[in-house]
Amino acid sequence: MTTATTTAAPSYRGVLPPSQHEFAEVIHRLEAGGAMLPDSPENLMQIIGIYKAYAVPMDFYWRDLLYMAEQVFLEPLPFFKYFPTQEYLDRHNHYAGDTADLRIWRGPATAHPELLAFMAKGETGKMPKLLHHLWHDRINMEFAEECMRAMLWHQGMGGRFNDYLDSDEYRENANRAIRAYFKGNPAMLALHKLFPEMFLEQCRQASYLANLGLFWEVMAPVFFEMSDLFDEGNLRTVPEAMNFLVNGIFAIAGRPIYHHVYIRGECYEVIPKSKGFTWLYEAALPYVEAVFYRTSPFRGTKSYNAQARQVPEDQKDFHYGILYADVFPVGTAGIPPTLLMQDMYHFLPPYLVEYYSRHCKGKDDMLIQLGITFQRSMYCVTSAVIQALRTALLYPLDDPNPRHLQANRAFFEMQLDRFKRPEARLRNIQNQDYR
């Protein structure tokens, strides 16, 4: 995959009057082919470094998510769901290595070497993986599961996936898999007959595990390749980084999203590929809405009282995602966002460790600093999604037709309206001192 550079002149100049939006400066930047995140070498270094640190645990997340969706499935006592088999660690990523459907990363298709090294030794040293697990010296799947739950719970975020989970066809497919899974287990089969919705809901959850696993299978090689390009000096600006993501979004937009379950060697197609569900519509866009924007209030040092209306009544009004998060109170031990930061902490490139040690409390508050870097980097990813949607649904930035440029302007302004909320971090990331 190649990087594309956008050199279109700001479309409003001479054609449209300047925007009067609160974030007019950001809108003009988007109209010029830029990102919400200002273009500076410091921002570029931060976001690429954190993409690399994110991609390594993500390489574990997608493998284990598919392991849970396809193999663990309805296991009533899933003690070992975070222990994907060697088969899943060796599983070829469809977008890396020599066997790739579309080679995005030039590296190997099997689990990343840094991931395997960490799984063997962790922070504490070489010991049986069960001890690593119990000591929490491991990749934390709790963050990945929280993302899945956000997608399952919020629903209605576009695409056809969620509606399909309520269809008779899905019910039939799922029931077939449930009966096969509990074959020879009369107690569980009786339970299924008595409470037919119970395992069905678990199956829906597993379908979202598959959805998220297939989504991240693509993102890990995208981030690895961006890191390699940056290291080689071939990714030089924030817009170049964003455009790499835009091209990536298009390139794999048509990747199928499905849910297959393997029971005693037989494949049960709970969601077949033939449904036509795609990576862009059924995974990426719902993921961005559920995880970047909405999620749910985490109990960090801040608590929320729903009775006192501190939590919105409508799910669409939830804004607790990474684009809004106050990283400091959220950064309490044991909650999913902190566990992600802890995961990324293990794989930071040396230049980012050196950068953090020069700021704030140095190594003592590195988790907070990297959390804010992560926030910056996700504003870049969101910018890529916004530019990709503009490319797909609207008009080129250098379109000569004023009506088309006005439509682009209205789209950008509508997107940025979501960051007018006081807790949004768009204002903060314009400033380099926010760390």
Partner: protein
Amino acid sequence: MPDIVDIAVGAGAFKTLVTAVQVAGLVDTLKSPGPFTVFAPNDDAFAKLPPGTIPTLVQNPPQLARILCFHVVPGRYTQADLAKVGSLDSVEGAPIPFYCEDGVFEVKNATVLAADIEADNGIIHVLDRVILMG
């Protein structure tokens, strides 16, 4: 009169579209009595998509079929008909908006390069861009 597929094959400017229709298994449908209104992106339109987009879709026929079905509306609609209705649901299910004013004919964010090409089983409007749901 030739059908929709025959016209696309004969025109020579729809090589990518014809290949995509074949891969997606939609040839028989588009040769059936229909009638259909087809918004047909030409080869230049497909070339505007970022690299990798088409190969991924070609590897996955059901997903490709879904995108192609967004370019088809059941029934026979001329430019004048589409100007009156404003929007129609595609075979894919998502709506397609139309803009017809001051001599401009647009289908979603694509411009119609040639309108009202009559076929035995429908009508073709040629687009300068591939349109996508959303």
